[in-house]
Amino acid sequence: MSLGIAVRHSACRRCTKCIRSCPTRAMRIFQGMVRVDDELCMGCGECIRVCPWKAIEVRQDSWDTIRKNQNLLLTADPSFYVQTGSSGRTGALQDSLTRLGFEDISDYISTAYDLAALAIGRQINERKPEELPLISTYCPAVLRLIQLNHPELIRHLVGVESPLEIGIDYWRNTTGRGESVALIAPCPAMSQLQSLPAGRVKSNFDHVVIIRQVIRTLISEGMAGNELPRSFERHGRWLMWALHGGETRHIAATMGRPLTSIVATGIRNVQDLLNELELGRLGCVEYLECRMCDQGCLGGVATSESRFMSLVRLQNLNINWTLNKEERERLLELYATDLWRFSAPIQALEQKSLSGDIQEAMTRLRKMNEIYTTLPGIDCGSCGHPSCRAMAEDLARGEGEITNCIFKLKERITDLSTQIFELCGKNPETPTSLREHEIDGREGVQE
């Protein structure tokens, strides 16, 4: 398993919806097959949302194998826990997992979220005002977007690992155990954590399965409970990270003061916000909580429940935001261990320039502009490139052919048929006519 999404070519109808919807233009149709550029894919799952043929799916391991494996630890993204239940109440999904034979380690995970919130708050306080705002690294798709399109914002990233990873580290350190761990993920980006860990060399997750897959089993087997365990209400702060604004609220709670933050969810909002930060227009803001999905992780493409219903359930939780003295002391001890800190730097992903050599890049850019002006500009996608501009860019790099554009193909055919027609109108001096002429001449002589 290398990346977050997989294309089922047998179901794909080459309708081009996916390649045109991709925010990082990571997809092409080449030789009749949808291709994904691993370097550019950020795992947002937009292609999965728009595919009418259900031909694109989140990569995951076999749930059947995972659930039969008794030596496996299973941990879930917070959004998992609000996928079922009557209106306003949350299903006791942790109990369901326990009944399947999986150990409950949610106490460790919940503590890790407290720790992450505390560590982020500390980082905000430690920064000089001109170095703010810090940007959340919780959503792996946002992190990747920054690495790809906003490398200059990397210095704004908060250096705290995913609390899901911290939780496993904490559990391993405390218990000394070393079983394999599987993650129940709400989206391709989270499932990508396994192969592309953020801020660490190796992920704690050995397997990934998506929320929808697990919930389907639990519902079909009548195991999706209806009540939330009391412990979740008491320590439910971490569940709120699945909701837009939940992370900010948790951080503010550990800081003991209000936090000036902007919460942006959905691709367009996130892109706009990052552009504004790049232009230096977000003075006085301390924190940016960005989530690639609408409403936050609840809107993940691999969840099973309506994001609006899971939102209602989360909002109805009676969350205790105040850490008691004992909790705070334990957190400060953990904070001192650096368990939460990035152990590998976040690096910029190479920009896709037209050439490594600036003169060559200029030549190609001029060529690209020339090509672009001759293209129809309707971005139909029939050529297999996501837009006319992307096609011009690919052609300038020497990839693809101009006649992949159906309009250019038609022009070529028109030109050729005009030439053919002109040729047909010519009366060539063929050997046949020459012979007739000669014969005529000879006949004349004979007469």
């Binding site: 490398p151 200059e152 552009n275 790049e278 232009l279 230096g280 910029a348 920009q351 896709k352 320039s353 037209l354 050439s355 490594g356 600036i358 003169q359 890049a361 200029m362 850019l365 001029r366 690209m368 860019e393």
Partner: protein
């Protein structure tokens, strides 16, 4: 042979919603040319602030980008009211923007100082009643 790459853009003074269009294009061009991200960031700030000045004060105008050899040059020209006192205009916080503009979150008086801070060479010429010309140069390699 070393030659410059030039592109120009028309900035419509009546289109407040389209602010940022030219600077977005400039950023995309620089990215494709493989310019380093720090220089792109500086050029994007210069272009954006210059574009805003064209819309807010200049009543529209034209912008151009020239890349190479050795530097990125951004030029913004308008035929608007002009700046009576350039020194005053360069003061941080000084602004003549209307209330309408301020309500939109612009006009904090940081534009010109911001452009200057991000440029290696900066030139501002203006004549009241005629217009304003802004030239900014960012060196590709600092000597």
């Amino acid at each position: 042979m070393s030659s410059a790459y030039v592109e120009s853009y028309v900035v419509d003074g009546n289109e407040l919603v389209a602010i940022g269009e030219a600077s977005t294009k400039i950023k995309a061009v620089l990215k494709m040319l493989g310019i380093s991200s720090d220089l792109i960031r500086r050029a994007a700030i210069v272009a954006y602030e210059a574009e805003m000045n064209l819309v807010i004060h200049g009543g529209g105008g034209s912008m151009s980008l020239e890349v190479g050899p050795g530097s990125i040059k951004i030029l913004a020209v308008d035929t608007g009211p002009g700046i009576p006192d350039i020194n005053k205009a360069m003061t941080e916080g000084f602004s003549t923007a209307s209330d309408k503009i301020r309500e939109m979150g612009f006009g904090a008086g940081m534009g010109l100082p911001n452009i200057k801070r991000n440029s290696d060479n900066f030139e501002l010429t203006s004549e009241v009643g005629k217009g304003t010309t802004l030239k900014s140069e960012i060196l590709l390699q600092k000597t």
